[in-house]
């Protein structure tokens, strides 16, 4: 075997007449952050559920640390589902111990680990509270602890930032990077591509159950070349509508990412912009993930 932690080989899952995951193959290497990206309903969650052995593929095989996925590989995973949920009537401490022990931890080890992670999320004081008494944000933190407490080598986060305030998002990002540096492999699934751009080492782009693109993110981006202009400016932005042979992404009042299509010239855009507004920044860069996705799907 090579050093791949997770490998999907021609994996297919069909629900009724819908091919939720269609002949998907990819590999995830140790110590990398892997982004599973695509719009809602593209097959991300189904892929994750097969990896966690909640669902079984109709055909193809999935391996984790060189073993076929099954009951035994479940303890190697920490899973944060997209739809969060905990037992509302159970106390935080009891609940975390229960979940960790289900993942194979002994009780003392579970207690020690839970104390550590609750402290990391500044949540030690809730240990004797019932989960139902906590706010949504607090419950999110407990859910992260539940995902991490059994110290699994591979972590799966499905839309981890949804519903998190900026401060907690930062905390979570720090923790994810720290876990990566400790050699853990991290899976990310999200439809908000801009969120994971800074985090992912590798990506797999899903659309309609099919894998449309996968690989090292920086390589993918550089393969597209510097074909995008990012522009920051003050003043009237209506000139953007009149630009020809471009596609504009992430447009806001004083900012735009302009993808150069055939027949357009970055210098011409610069000159045009100067006529209408004051330019604060102008840069020729590689395309963003959103642009790469649109491009890959349209092929």
């Amino acid at each position: 075997m090579n050093d791949s932690i997770v490998s999907f080989e021609n994996v297919t899952k069909i629900f009724g007449d819908q091919r939720a995951v269609d002949e998907v193959s990819f590999e995830v290497k140790k110590g990398r952050i892997f982004g599973l990206l695509g719009p809602n309903g593209a097959g991300k969650t189904t892929s994750i559920r097969m990896l966690t052995h909640i669902l079984v593929p109709d055909s193809g095989s999935i391996q984790l640390f060189g073993q076929p996925v099954g009951s035994e590989t479940q303890k190697l995973l920490g899973y944060l589902p997209e739809e969060r949920g905990l037992y509302k009537k159970m106390k935080v401490g009891e609940q975390l111990i229960y979940l960790s022990r289900l993942h194979g931890l002994s009780k003392p080890a579970a207690i020690e680990s839970i104390r550590y992670w609750l402290a990391r999320f500044e949540a030690e004081s809730w240990i004797h509270k019932e989960v139902g008494e906590l706010s949504k944000g607090m419950q999110q933190k407990i859910q992260f602890v539940a995902t991490l407490a059994h110290n699994p080598p591979c972590l799966i986060f499905d839309e981890p930032f949804s519903g998190l305030d900026p401060i907690n998002s930062e905390t979570l990002k720090e923790i994810i990077l720290e876990l990566r540096d400790k050699g853990k492999t991290i899976f990310f699934a999200t439809h908000r591509m801009e969120q994971v751009e800074q985090l992912c080492d590798d990506i797999a782009l899903f659309n309609n159950g099919k894998l449309v693109l996968s690989g090292d993110l920086s390589q993918i981006r550089s393969s597209y070349g510097k074909n995008t202009v990012t522009l920051r400016f003050t003043g009237d932005n209506s000139f953007l509508d009149n630009l020809k042979h471009v596609r504009i992404n992430n447009r806001s009042v004083h900012y735009a990412e302009i993808r150069l299509l055939e027949g357009s010239d970055d210098q011409a855009i610069l000159r045009e912009a100067q006529k209408h507004c004051r330019i604060q920044a102008f840069e020729l860069t590689e395309p963003g993930l959103q642009e790469i996705f649109i491009d890959a799907v349209s092929k």
């Binding site: 949920g85 037992y87 289900l102």
Partner: protein, 423 residues
């Protein structure tokens, strides 16, 4: 293969979370109180609303029968000077509730007496009046015939029939006549338990689904293990509740003897009164107890696997009606046969009904408490029930594993069938 440690963890959680809940404590305390109230209240109401306050005037043409009746029970009867026409007016005016007319030819064995009332006298009142009149008329006529005392004794003789049950091993036990009652009570308790604990399982599956916690659990254990753990945990909860009730009941009876004695005997004859209450308590053999617990458990397992499947297919309790319907029918049907089976516990109908795995939890304990059920029937039924449970558990877990991940729509029977077939 089932992972034993995980299963044990689940069983423990399912048990303790419920054991410590307020609902468990409340139902454990309230259920027997309600049960006792249901038994005692009708009796209490009966005595309180009894016709002791009703006194009926008797228009007596014979001149003797009425007198004897008043002598026998002066609180219920009094002689009336008024003739039937006036009594009728009094009745219409609401001054009296009823009156009795005894014609003189009654003592010659002719005619018939009459009881007129405003419609408020029930069956028990009229039958008591009838038996009182008959008794006195009979006595007076016997006396007129001047027959010997011995003859009278023969005429008034009551023959008692003592009931004994002889079991296969030759042991003899007095049948106090309460055994059918015991069977009824057991049948009803199991009936209530099937619904009560079934609903617990259903709600618990549904809650895990709607709170989405099931996805986390399913990422560490197999759905089948979760389902089994839940069923076993709740079964143990049920047993615990029964044990608590049994112990409390035994203590209560123990304490109730002397208390009843003091209340009933007024301190004058405590020993005699105590003996009396003890005699009326039916003796329930260990076999019946074991049968009761065993059939409760097996019935619970069968029904809880069905309720779990329903719970996994719904997202709110109001959606459960349609899917629950067949299960509810299965639980209710044996109740319709409760009388038939306890009246004729060895008939072919009773034997076959009580051996159907879905009906056995209620009907078999009823039969067991009335007669000693042949071993092959017990063994056969238990075997059938175990097989039924295994098949249902397999079906349910196939519905369950898909159902717990399905959100947004209410499943139909057709859908459940598809889930069972899906790989």
């Amino acid at each position: 293969m089932i992972h034993k440690e995980k299963l044990l963890l689940i069983v423990q959680r399912e048990f303790w979370v419920r054991f410590k809940s307020k609902i468990f404590i409340v139902t454990t305390v309230l259920a027997p109180i309600i049960m006792i109230a249901l038994v005692i209240l009708p009796a209490l109401i009966h005595t309180l609303s009894g016709d002791t306050t009703r006194q009926f005037p008797i228009y007596d043409e014979t001149g003797v029968v009425g007198e004897k009746m008043v002598q026998g029970d002066s609180s219920s009867y009094r002689l009336s000077e008024s003739d039937p026409t006036r009594l009728r007016t009094q009745l219409q005016n609401g001054e009296i509730h009823g009156f009795i007319v005894i014609p003189h030819e009654l003592l010659d064995g002719l005619g018939s007496s009459a009881f007129y009332h405003d419609g408020s006298a029930g069956m028990s009142v009229s039958s008591r009046i009838r038996s009182d009149i008959r008794q006195h008329v009979q006595q007076i006529r016997l006396e007129r015939l001047e027959i010997s005392e011995e003859m009278k004794a023969v005429m008034n003789e009551e023959i008692s029939v003592d009931n004994f049950i002889i079991s296969d091993d030759g042991a003899e036990a007095a049948d106090s006549g309460y055994s059918a009652l015991v069977g009824f009570i057991m049948g009803f308790i199991i009936y209530g338990a099937m619904f009560g604990y079934g609903a617990i399982i259903m709600r618990s599956v549904m809650e895990e689904k709607t709170t989405r916690v099931v996805e986390i659990i399913a990422s560490s254990v197999r759905p089948f293990e979760l389902l089994m753990g839940k069923v076993i945990g709740v079964a143990m909860l049920g047993l615990t509740q029964f044990i608590i009730w049994a112990v409390a009941g035994a203590l209560l009876l123990f304490a109730a003897g002397p208390v009843l004695t003091i209340l009933a005997g007024g301190g004058a004859e405590p020993a005699a009164a105590g003996a009396e209450t003890a005699v009326t308590m039916p003796v329930i053999g260990p076999v019946v107890w074991v049968g009761f617990v065993l059939f409760f458990l097996l019935g619970f397992l069968i029904y809880s696997s069905l309720f779990a499947a329903v719970g996994s297919a719904i997202e709110q309790e109001s959606d459960s009606q349609q899917l629950q319907m067949p299960i509810i029918m299965l639980i209710i049907v044996p109740l319709l046969f409760l009388m038939t089976v306890s009246d004729n516990p060895a008939s072919t109908l009773s034997v076959s009904l009580s051996m159907i795995p879905f009906f056995a939890p209620i009907l078999m304990p009823v039969r067991m408490s009335v007669i000693s059920v042949p071993f092959w029937q017990l063994g056969g039924t238990i075997l059938l029930m175990v097989l039924t449970f295994v098949v249902l558990m397999w079906l349910s877990s196939r519905i369950y594993r898909i159902g717990i991940l399905m959100y947004g729509k209410k499943a139909s029977f057709a859908e459940l069938y598809r889930w069972v077939r899906q790989d």
